[in-house]
């Protein structure tokens, strides 16, 4: 990307975007962390409600990443002018 490389806030935002995108992937690919039946929630075994919960967390992470990316693109466009 470039243009505003020296700006610490830009680099922090990029790092946060990276983490937000990585977290849901790592959580769900780490299969041994959730392949059990207990504790149950509303009758759902852990294996099921935990993964469904990650659908929501994943959506929240991506929304955060989206907001930051929009800000980053604005910075990039401003730097170009």
């Amino acid at each position: 990307m470039g243009g505003t490389g020296g700006d610490a806030r830009v680099w922090t935002a990029r790092a946060v975007v990276g983490v937000l995108l990585l977290v849901p992937c790592v959580a769900l690919l780490w299969v041994p962390s959730y392949t059990r039946v207990k504790p149950q929630l509303f009758g759902f075994p852990f294996f099921y409600w935990y993964q469904l919960l990650w659908v929501l967390i994943g959506a929240a992470c991506l929304s955060g990443a989206y907001v930051l990316t929009v800000w980053l693109e604005r910075q990039r466009k401003a730097a170009r002018r």
Binding site: V31, T35, P45, Q51, L52, L62, Y66, R76
Partner: protein
């Protein structure tokens, strides 16, 4: 089917089917362009779709009849492993968030219609582009066939047997796709999603109430999964993944997620959006469907708890039979229509995408380099018919016992285009010939290994499942992912070799800035000229587009 024709359900189904047929034909006038005879219009809906329409279009595209039938069928038959669809559709979005905006930008700068167009421009290799295009078409065919299987299953449940109803349904689909292009599935997707959300909302509230609550559903499933399958001598499955199945579960999720947006129909939907951020916004909004998908998967357990015994032990009939048992006829008709229409939307987009690939990367590239935009659109329309007919033959001719495995074989192939497309979006370090060699090795390896997997309980049978033993991790792993690793390794080693030997790498038709360009910026044309640039590989500063400019922007 033992029971006769369910007249009420059939009437509701037919009425809803008629509604979407009318919508399909009227779609040609929606957001009307001056001239549909241009591939950007017929094949990409004028590249004008915003967040809202794209959400429905992609939702209709990704979450298909396969979702409704095959995922709960797998959960019904094998338990927890079928739930891989949930992690799969969670991790797919971070992945596309990263690379699709770059593909969008470079495609808009250069007027690329297909992923193979991009590979052609980036790597200056007709062979590699052809490989990507052919893989896309090959992988899409069984996927379209899978949608047909979905329609067939509900028709059977309603008591309509024989091939004729399926042929009629598909003829209608073919006719409005031909006349309206991508606008038809985009508009029908609204109806499809409305119906699916309605059916799922009713199903997850009403059915658990009827069969004794969620706790009972899971305990009934647990009991059934623990019984020994007479065919294999092992239990059917388990409620949570057994230690031996962890690699399979994770690799199925990851491999499917990496593969999903290599499918031409997904890329088609992405390229039809009007700016870069529509793609990103949708990555954040589409998980709403993943939640629904998770609940749909659990319909498999509901079928167990409701004591559904599908005819002939065919797990694919489990969910339609569940609706048949639990719902009054009229609502069962609505549910069947949701599945049937859920098959039409993706089938239409897939046929369009496959047709675009053929037209751009085979017909124009190798047969008629001087084809005009109108000729391209015409050829695409014809090919979309041929593709659908091919899928129909595929379904009527092949063993349908596990539709999901057909799709998974396509998944093995399509993932092998990932290095050329996605690595290509970031770096040109890989040598074009090395990418081609990696692709070829992985295609042969993946097909060979999948061929060697026997159906459980049937030695010497083939294509029995998506996973195979990998010695390195002492577990079964998704074949697509193993083949992909091989693909990348071959690509790496051969790139080093070709570079050392100074084999010409071709000219890059793109520049760094192309990958971050957004709508409204210099050189990002609304209606790119399809004639000049891709072939020449030149930056898109070409003369005015030959095609008539669309009035609505």
């Amino acid at each position: 089917m033992s029971h006769g024709v369910d007249k009420v359900a059939l009437a509701v189904f037919a009425a809803l089917f008629l509604v979407v047929t009318v919508i399909g034909f009227l779609a040609a006038r929606w957001r009307r362009a001056a001239d549909l005879m241009h591939l950007d219009e017929w094949g990409l809906g004028g590249r004008s779709f915003g967040t809202f329409i794209t959400w429905f279009l992609l939702g209709g595209d990704l979450y298909t009849a396969y979702t409704f039938i095959a995922v709960p069928a797998l959960v019904f038959g094998a338990g927890a492993v079928g739930f891989f669809a949930v992690p799969y559709t969670v991790i797919v979005y971070p992945i596309i968030f990263v690379f699709l905006p770059r593909l969008w930008s470079v495609s808009h700068r250069h007027g690329y219609v297909t992923p193979a167009d991009f590979v052609r421009g980036r790597f200056d290799s007709r062979a590699l582009a052809l490989a990507v295009a052919v893989t896309g078409i090959l992988a899409t065919m069984p996927y379209i066939a899978l949608q047909l299987v979905g329609i067939q299953v509900v028709l059977e449940t309603m008591g309509l047997s024989g091939d004729l109803p399926l042929i009629v349904a598909f003829a209608i689909l073919a006719a409005y796709t031909y006349s309206s292009g991508l606008r038809a599935p985009a508009l029908i997707a609204f109806v499809k999603d409305g119906l699916i959300y309605l059916v799922i909302a009713v199903a997850i509230i009403y059915i658990p109430h009827q069969v004794g609550g969620w706790a009972h559903i899971f305990s009934a499933a647990s009991k059934k999964l623990a019984t020994v399958n007479p065919k294999t001598g092992k239990p059917f499955g388990s409620l949570a993944i057994a230690p031996a199945g962890r690699w399979a579960y994770g690799s199925l999720a990851l491999g499917s997620a990496l593969a999903l947006f290599m499918y031409p129909h997904c890329i088609t939907a992405v390229l039809s959006t009007k700016d870069r951020n529509v793609v990103r916004r949708n990555a954040a909004l589409l998980p709403a469907y993943s939640l629904v998908l998770g609940l749909i998967a659990l319909l498999g357990y509901m079928a167990v708890a409701a004591g559904v015994k599908p005819a002939g032990g065919n797990a694919q009939l489990a969910v339609p039979e569940l609706f048949n048992t639990m719902f009054p006829s009229w609502f069962a008709g609505v549910a069947y229509a949701a599945v049937g229409i859920g098959a039409l939307v993706p089938a239409a987009i897939m046929a369009i995408a496959a047709a675009n690939l053929f037209t751009r990367n085979v017909y124009r590239e190798f047969l008629r380099p001087a084809a005009s935009p109108a000729e391209e659109a015409h050829v695409s329309k014809i090919v979309s018919l041929v593709v659908k007919f091919g899928a129909l033959v595929f379904v009527l001719g092949l063993d349908k016992s596990f539709a999901i495995n057909l799709q998974l074989l396509g998944g093995i192939w399509i993932l092998q285009t990932f290095p050329a497309i996605v690595f290509g979006l970031y770096t040109r370090w890989f040598h074009r010939h090395a990418l081609l060699a990696g692709w070829a090795v992985a295609m042969i390896y993946g097909t060979r290994v999948a061929y060697g997997v026997p159906v459980p309980g049937k030695p010497h049978s083939h294509f029995g499942g998506p996973t195979a033993m990998v010695g390195l991790v002492h577990s079964k792993v998704y074949i697509a992912l193993t083949a992909f690793v091989l693909n990348v390794l071959v690509g790496l080693v051969l790139t080093l070799a070709f570079r050392a030997l100074k084999v010409p790498a071709g000219t890059d038709g793109t520049v760094v800035d192309d990958y971050i360009a957004d709508a409204g910026e210099a050189d990002v044309r609304d209606l790119p000229s399809l004639v000049e640039d891709a072939a020449a590989g030149s930056p898109a500063r070409a003369s005015a587009p030959e095609a008539p400019t669309s009035p609505n922007r």
